[in-house]
Symmetry: C2
Subunit: 451 residues, 2 copies
């Protein structure tokens, strides 16, 4: 019970946790998960640093930037911390190639890391403080997501944006050294900024919800530091965040086992830049493929979720990333499922298009969520079949550090930074020993504007 | 039906309306309502220009401002357009002393006018374009509010913030000269930024929701201009704005009679800086008051809404603005109900406090919403009673232009600008003839930082 006899508020408990957490109490395995998440994050942002969606965000934000204190990853341009947080978050999540907390489908790192990195760069902070604040922010984000899942997302809320603003606020509040009451206020201010719609996911408006989660979370912490307050029950009150958004929040998921059980420890990383339910299809096709073999028919079986998400016409690269037919065809045709496999060029590749026409999607309710069975019929009449239930990157088969490094190298190459990849990987693995985040961040900037 | 056979989307119809509207088609009475709204807006922002909440917002935003293109009303400091929009919106709505669209309880002007004024100042646009864009933005804002009222507010959404971002986006899209498709996109991008909670209204977090509506609406228009798109049905789709927020939207209220029936024509202005349901109490007390008369008891009768909102302990100025007891007591003690009557000093005034103790609130279900009956028993045993059903400022008894001017002068005095008030009033009445908004805005800036 709180001092005035009430049961403690959710924000109050989280505020105390954020302010009081000690580095020594963070398990070594969780610290390593944080480093893995950041390695994956930087690579994702680098890979699309020259994407028009990133360039547009950068161009629109530049005139509203109070100085160039912070790096835009993979770019030569610099912005203030709010602008850099906005653009780097958009980049990190642009292709949905980032990390995933599977229970909530939150992509935890994209909205939380960028404002912390920008703040640390501007203020000359060290890597340990950033990693610690990041783990706390991501934990708050995932826990709030758990409290309102699965209804929240199903109702139309883009949960990474709506919960990301809390994660960013929590992380920034910690990095700024706010006390427990201020951390509580920052979360309450974040509640009044929580926004983002599933309806908008197939459009650039999705980027805006993501970028705002980062920059508005930073704003929440700065305003709390300057004395702005919020309602005590902004998160769970009768007219507060969770209920306005349609949920009776399960507050045990927010506060139960805080500091001992870590939701963020369940973070996962994508090996392929496509919808996560298609990853079993990719693994099956990679295993079945014989280069040069003539293929008569491909039958992909999955449960209703797979068919709902993936049985659709393929007109462009957005469709390709969520198409059963394209996924199977491109992997069987090319033997790989990297960014190029889901590009517009791949959609238009005649060999891939021809094979897409021979892919059939069928329902098998007996298969679990995330699983797929692929059956290949060759020109010679042979038939081979494989069922994958725990694809690479899932909780049951996490990507290894070496696999994350390989993914990073591929992304760095897309940014024209292959030559710097090993140095960058080393900087991130040793993040907590780095006293100079400003120096670190500059190693992820481009030397000059791409022409 | 649209070109591909679908019924037109809400955003599509609004986008066409915003882009195609012609100044000549705006009724003269509506243009005048726009001028009245802006006069009321500038006064409200001036009156609190030195409030700590405004100063905090300004101080936090200043380092994130890309130059000083725009005036902060009543201040010497200047910010970029996004920062100025944020701070001016907070100021205009700080005391809830601004305008009200009564059906939705939206305060229409605060989130819409500031980004337009800032953009116009930065780009050297004229007053007619600003007034036109403002009327279109406020119309879109009120219509979306009507489509989701009354459930939206009741569920916990601070409707001025959640709908204000659409109004700001619509107005800015028009002022930037976007085409119909871009205006549609701006509204869709606004949908992913719509936020703000009723739970947070008694705190500074309310200011953040308000300021964000303005700056994020501007961002939506700028991103749409730069090519960002949104989902076609971002407003009404199955996973879009209205449904995520809990409503089956009444789209007839969004698009019915567009350009002929103006929701914004129903805008009203507060004569008193207190909750609108208390205005009938104030008018009754002003009419009953005899200066110097000894008062034994005051009985205030109202319906359940009045009692729900106003029967509470009074500890500070926030409570005072929504207290039946303070309202009746201060008006009977002082004979006025301006900003000073709802200050902390008034709350602590022994004469007012003593009289508060003699006020009794009673239920009379027969009285309509917004009405009150006040009965005064004097020390000498006399009893007088008055019932007010249409208080000053309501739709039935709108404030006259002269009353709005008087309110403006009082606010300008609070900002130390009494000497400039007549010139400022003249500038606003002749707004549409002013070719130079940059020059105009500078007349509302303070000469130097208040010491």
């Amino acid at each position: 019970m709180g001092g005035d006899g009430h049961a403690p508020y959710a924000g109050e408990i989280l505020g105390r946790f954020i302010a009081a957490s000690r580095w020594e109490e963070i398990p070594a395995s969780l610290r390593h998960e944080g480093r893995r998440a950041l390695l994956n994050f930087f690579g994702g942002a680098l890979g699309v640093a020259r994407d028009p969606a990133v360039e547009t965000a950068l161009r629109v934000m530049a005139p509203f930037s109070g100085g160039g204190h912070a790096t835009v990853i993979g770019r030569a341009e610099r912005l203030d911390a709010m602008g850099a947080a906005f653009v780097n978050t958009i980049a990190a999540n642009l292709l949905d190639y980032d990390d995933t907390h599977l229970e909530t489908v939150i992509h935890p790192t994209a909205p939380v890391a960028p404002p912390l990195l920008a703040l640390a760069e501007q203020r000359g902070l060290g890597g340990k403080a950033v990693l610690h604040a990041f783990l706390l922010g991501a934990e708050v984000e995932c826990r709030l997501g758990c409290a309102v899942s699965p209804g929240h997302y199903a109702r139309g809320w883009h949960i990474t944006s709506t919960c990301g603003v809390f994660g960013a606020a929590a992380g920034c509040a910690r990095l700024l050294g706010l006390d427990a009451a201020q951390c509580w206020a920052a979360l309450g201010i974040a509640a009044s900024q929580s926004a983002g719609l599933v309806e908008n996911l197939p459009s650039a408006a999705k980027n805006v919800g993501m970028g705002n989660a980062a920059r508005n979370g930073l704003l929440a912490a700065l305003l709390a530091q300057a004395g702005y307050g919020a309602a005590p029950a902004a998160i769970e009150g009768p007219l507060g965040w969770a209920r306005a958004m349609g949920d009776a929040p399960d507050l045990r998921r927010v506060t139960g086992g805080l500091g001992t059980r870590w939701e963020f420890a369940r973070n996962t990383y994508k090996p392929y830049p496509s919808g996560i339910v298609f990853h079993a299809v990719i693994d099956a096709c990679l295993a079945l493929r014989v280069p040069g073999e003539a293929i008569a028919e491909v039958v992909v079986a999955g449960n209703q979720l797979l068919l709902d998400r993936g049985d659709r016409p393929v007109r462009n690269e957005r469709d390709a990333r969520v198409s059963i037919h394209h996924t199977a065809a491109v992997v069987l045709a090319r033997g790989e499922a990297g960014p190029a496999a889901f590009s517009l060029a791949a959609v238009r590749d005649p060999a891939v298009a021809a094979l897409r026409g021979r892919v059939r999607a069928v329902l098998d309710d007996g298969l679990p969520r995330g699983a797929a069975r692929v059956t290949l019929r060759t020109g010679g009449g042979e038939e081979r079949s494989i069922t994958v239930t725990a694809p690479r990157g899932s909780e049951g088969q996490p990507l290894t550090d070496a696999e994350l490094e390989a993914k990073y190298r591929a992304n760095a190459s897309l940014a024209g930074m292959a030559a710097r990849a090993e140095e960058q990987i080393g900087l991130l693995w040793s993040l907590e020993d780095n006293p100079d985040m400003a120096g670190l961040m500059r190693r992820f900037a481009a030397a000059a504007s791409p022409g």
